[in-house]
Amino acid sequence: MSKVYDVVIIGGGPAGLSAGLYASRSRMSALIIEKAKWGGQAGTTEELENYPGSIEMPTGPKLMERMKSQAEAFGTEFVKDEVTGFDISDKIKKIISGSGKEISTRTIIIATGAQPVILGIPGEMELRGKGVSYCATCDADFFAELEVVVVGGGDAAVEEAIYLTKFAEKVTIVHRRDEFRAAKSIVEKAINNDKIDIMWDTVPEEIYGDGIVEGIKLRNVKTNEITDFRTDGVFMFVGTKPISEFVKGIVEMDPKGYIKADEEMRTSVEGIFAAGDVRIKSLRQVVTAAADGAIAAVNAEKYIEKNLEH
């Protein structure tokens, strides 16, 4: 019989890496499956000043690298693959991967996180990679001495707007409300930044350009007035959506696809846990994801002791 893991963690962001660390330190055999890049969304966030203790090297990629090596040092295994199916009818669960492998495990932690929402306005998909971006660290270089628009009003939007001022000549934040949801310290930084302009009560209607972004049509939600705004790039940070399609019908979730888990990270299915941005919660941050991962790993261990060892 092939190897049976104590826990298989799906997703290699802060929740998954922290779960791996805690599981491995408890001498559980742990495997993390990641389909794209280690570190998840935090892996592409340049400024990460709100993770306790990360002040000296506050960049997301570096913090995520350290989280991964730490888990690795305690014995967590890593594999790049995509989960495409499950067999959870037995106590030993099976995970089927995109490369056709079958992985056996006693418990599963879903830590797949979330990804940026695509608004779906005209031009958005067509001009992706041609000036429309969802990743400031990936694409900021292109906009040196150019002008960009940032759409959104949460932490990500305002933080990334500040990051973009290191490259772009001017950054205009377009936000549908008349105040930001982002943390006050970040908002102050943005308001005091000479390169940042803010357009309140404004939503994007259309992004246009011949092969590359040339401008964006904006609508004031109070007056309905449409403005044609010339810009070289549009960075979209209008929120995130959970990556949970692959467990639809298996664990309970809300209408938006966020997974229901209790405060011990237990989902509606015994032996399956959820941690991080993918679950219903009020604060989606690296620090809460890491906490979720730890709690999920400890409860996975408790579940095994109670149900599978006697």
């Binding site: 389909k35 794209a36 890049k37 280690w38 570190g39 892996g43 592409t44 340049e46 990629p61 790049k80 995509e82 995109g98 990804q115 992706r128 990679g129 041609k130 000036g131 429309v132 971006s133 969802y134 990743c135 660290t137 990936c138 694409d139 900021a140 270089d141 292109f142 906009f143 040196a144 092969g211 590359i212 972004v213 070289d232 790039g233």
Partner: protein
């Protein structure tokens, strides 16, 4: 894989006969770097059927913008100097989608 720059781009890509894949990547693009080992594996596998190239856009910004690339990761297949297919964005560029892009164009 062939490393592209402004001196060899025309010759290796635009004047080439047969299909050419270009991986547009950047030094600060974490998804690009995470995908790179997979791209190298695909280059090994399909290298005899398609010319495999990569372009560091951090070092060659103007060249990338000239190809209307302002976002990473981006993969473009050229045939006879013309773009025939491209994919862009971290969620859209995986080992699977890049492999499909190659298979569809050889």
């Amino acid at each position: 894989m062939i490393e592209l720059n402004k001196d060899n781009f025309d010759e290796e890509v635009l004047q080439a006969t047969g299909p050419v894949l270009v991986d547009f990547w950047g030094e600060k693009c974490e998804p690009c770097k995470a995908l790179m080992p997979d791209v190298h594996a695909l280059a090994e596998k399909y290298g005899d059927k398609m010319k495999m190239c990569k372009l560091n856009t951090t070092q060659n910004r103007r060249l990338a913008i000239g190809q209307k690339v302002l976002g990473l990761p981006t993969f473009i297949v050229y045939k006879n100097g013309e773009k025939v297919k491209e994919i862009s964005g971290a969620e859209n560029c995986t080992m699977e989608t890049v492999e499909n892009l190659i298979k569809e164009n050889i």
